[in-house]
């Protein structure tokens, strides 16, 4: 059977070639710090315990050698999921029955695969950047420190076309993969293959500070709980400073969102975007709407309700008034366009297309709030340096 033999040789040769093409070996992770060297069952290994003030979609409970992280809704409509964060060096604990199926993740984690860019500023802020080894789409990353690590080859992309490359993740064996708050078809295989996946759903929090507070989860994972608490407290204090500055000022009417193909998406009052505008001293037709998302509305509805507002906070890339009119000549009927008070939130764009307001802005709501307050009440924040917003040129 010489032909079978030849075939076998060809197949083996092909497999060898393919194996050679299978990418470089996994990025070496640094040795974990903070591991227990001599385990004492009576010692409380977590003297610092995270407390959540605003976040409601996540809880952390503490035992002596492990914490239990529970995400109530790991993705929209998802059932609660718990993860056991076991301090490395501790023996595997006797877990209660309700945690029998929970993934056990050794902390501090050695390597993180991050599916959402909102996680990156948290990692940078608490000084855990050397634990980051993978991001979903490198091109969408704005954070300069992360970009530098990507350029140096220490951080890899694992979902560059929006679809998780399960095989490359399995080959890299990260300590944990943090999702972007949606379930991915590749996740079951990753979990089965020994890569724990945490449903990271900070965007399901309602309220800017609740989202920012997820930095405490990052602190627990990376062994930087003290840093995380300090960073969060600073953010919350600065946020309160800004709300204090605009307190008492009459709310300024504002037009929010933008139209596409004849439909206008207006943020509702109870969502994060809406809360930020209200806290910055603004008001609009849907401010009292208890919904949390974007409301698709008719052009005429938005024009009649908010078209006379003197300021337009648009979400589209409208660098100039002329660009706005080129998109839709009817924008010229808006008072804010006539006044030249059109503000876009694309001041911080990465060269490859990432908008930092969706990255850093999510976990630094104090900066977004200060921008908004300075637009709406310039007299209360004189000399403000804008971070994310810029005024469209006339």
């Amino acid at each position: 059977m010489p032909s079978v033999g030849r075939l076998a040789v060809v197949v083996v040769a092909a497999l060898v070639v393919l194996a050679g093409c299978g990418g470089a070996p996994p990025v070496a992770a640094p040795a974990a710090a903070g591991c227990i060297t001599t385990f004492d069952p009576q010692t409380d290994y977590f003297p610092v315990k995270a407390q959540f003030e605003h976040a409601t979609n996540v809880t952390l409970t503490y035992e002596r050698s492990y914490r239990v992280l529970t995400v109530k809704q790991p993705f929209p409509g998802g059932a609660p999921e718990s993860y056991v964060l076991l301090q490395c060096g501790a023996p595997r604990p006797q877990l209660p029955p309700e945690l029998a199926k929970a993934a056990v993740i050794e902390t501090p984690v050695r390597s993180i695969y991050s599916a959402s860019t909102t996680q990156l500023p948290m990692i940078t802020d608490i000084g855990a950047l050397d634990q980051l080894t993978g991001v979903a789409t490198p091109d969408y990353v704005s954070d300069a420190a992360v970009q530098a690590r990507i350029a140096a080859g220490a951080v890899r992309g694992f979902a560059t076309n929006g679809q998780t490359n399960g095989e490359s993740v399995l080959a890299a064996v990260p300590s944990v993969l943090l999702s972007q708050g949606t379930e991915d078809p590749a996740f079951p295989a990753l979990r089965a293959g020994g890569v724990p996946v945490i449903g990271w759903a900070e965007y399901l929090e309602t309220g800017p500070l609740g989202q920012a507070e997820w930095i405490k989860v990052m602190g627990a994972l990376t062994g930087h709980e003290v840093d995380a608490a300090r960073v969060y407290d600073d953010i919350a204090r600065r946020y309160a400073d800004v709300t204090g500055k605009v307190a008492g000022a009459a709310p300024v009417p504002v037009l929010l969102g933008s139209a596409y193909q004849g439909s206008w998406s207006v943020p509702a009052g109870a969502g994060t975007a809406g809360i930020l505008v209200m806290d910055a001293g603004g008001t609009w037709s849907q401010a009292a709407n208890p919904a949390t998302g974007l409301l698709p509305q008719d052009l005429e509805t938005v024009f009649a309700a908010d078209g006379q507002a003197g300021i337009w906070l648009t979400d589209g890339p409208l660098p100039t008034k002329a660009a706005a009119l080129a998109v839709d000549a009817r924008y010229g009927t808006l008072a804010a366009v006539r006044n030249g008070q059109v503000w876009t939130r694309d001041k911080r764009m990465s060269p490859t297309g990432g908008n930092d307001i969706f990255e850093r802005g999510v976990t630094h709501p104090d900066e977004v709030l200060a921008d908004l307050a300075a637009i709406l009440h310039p007299d209360r924040l004189p000399g403000h340096e804008f971070v994310y917003y810029r005024q469209a040129a006339a």
């Binding site: 193909q261 005429e300 000549a329 490859t352 297309g353």
Partner: protein
């Protein structure tokens, strides 16, 4: 007489629905003020000048023009292919336009971020989006027309059109997978179909393109009737099958391509209106059937537009939801009640 009466009644219905589409909308505008805006007088609230004069008239006019065009384009395709399921998009027009829009959106969002690819497109705004849809539709139709010259059978041409459309749709999927979520969302919105996006500046162009398509379709009316009995029969009646076929394809391309460029792919109207038109006209003579299909199309899309913008509505109802969700059952009911149900396609 039945024909003249039907045309008159349909013309009246178009006029009534047009007035309703201008008078009704989510924002309650007093009737007196609507009339004042229409006659050029000052309304009680200056906002109504914009709501009625800028938004609603464009919307109603777009609905009437697009409805007429899609109705006729659907009839042309159903007759040419002798297929009750053919619609204006059967030759890949919609897929071609979608590809143009997807590429344009991807290029502009990348360029807005500072990349060089597509940098020249950013300032184009709406002109760019409409133009890219038109170019995409024209490219696909051009390809189909070239292939049509090599194909004798209309059925083969139908299959070729569907295949070309499938290839374009596959490229769209590829673009969407590689683009950012914002672009994908904008593309999705475009795909929902809308008569709200056309501005006063768009209308003359849309009207001219649709008028050209309608005139060309009208010139083909007599030979089209012969097509119903097959290409060979038409040939035996002295019809230059190849020339008429190309003319019909160009007419359908102008209609479907132009409308899709401005409104996105509007579902259902193109496939349902010809069936309703046959019931109303009671004949398969295209000299009557074509104008009836145009008017029934205008009536249908105006009615759908009114339903999609109900007075007092808080949220937008996508046009395609109305055309399919409300229109589908209505057409089924009409066809079932009709004796001509069984022969609706011919």
């Amino acid at each position: 007489m039945r024909g003249a009466g039907a045309l008159l009644a349909l013309g009246g219905a178009v006029a009534v629905l047009f007035v309703l589409a201008v008078a009704l909308g989510p924002v309650p505008v007093p009737l007196g003020d609507t009339v004042r805006v229409l006659v050029g007088a000052e309304p009680s609230d200056p906002r109504w000048t914009v709501v009625v004069g800028t938004f609603r008239i464009s919307r109603a006019a777009t609905a009437a023009i697009a409805g007429a065009g899609l109705g006729v384009a659907g009839l042309l395709m159903q007759t040419l292919f002798r297929n009750a399921l053919a619609d204006p998009y059967v030759l890949g027009v919609s897929a071609g336009a979608s590809l143009g829009v997807a590429l344009f959106l991807a290029a502009t969002t990348t360029a807005a971020a500072g990349a060089t690819f597509g940098a020249g497109l950013v300032g184009l705004g709406r002109v760019g989006a409409v133009g890219s849809a038109a170019v995409g539709a024209a490219a696909v139709l051009g390809l189909v027309l070239v292939l049509a010259r090599r194909v004798r059978s209309s059925v083969t041409l139908l299959i070729v059109g569907v295949m070309v459309g499938a290839v374009a749709a596959a490229v769209v999927s590829l673009v969407l997978v590689w683009t950012d979520p914002l672009t994908a969302q904008q593309y999705l919105l475009w795909g929902l179909g809308s008569v709200d996006a056309t501005t006063g500046a768009d209308l003359p162009i849309l009207a001219t393109v649709v008028a050209a398509g309608l005139v060309l379709a009208g010139l083909c009316a007599a030979p089209l009737t012969a097509f119903l009995l097959g290409d060979d029969y038409a040939r035996s009646m002295g019809v230059d099958v190849r020339t008429v076929r190309i003319a019909v394809l160009v007419a359908a391309a102008l209609l479907a391509g132009g409308i899709t460029a401005y409104c996105g792919p509007i579902a259902f109207v193109g496939i349902a209106v010809p069936h309703l038109a046959r019931l109303v006209a009671g004949t398969s003579d295209h000299r009557l059937l074509l104008p009836v299909a145009a008017l029934v199309g205008a009536v249908t899309l105006l009615a759908c537009t009114i339903v999609a913008h109900p007075p007092g509505a808080e949220l937008v109802v996508p046009l395609n939801v109305v055309t399919s969700l409300v229109g589908g059952p209505v057409v089924i009911a009409v066809l079932l009640r009709s004796n001509r149900f069984a022969g609706a396609a011919t």
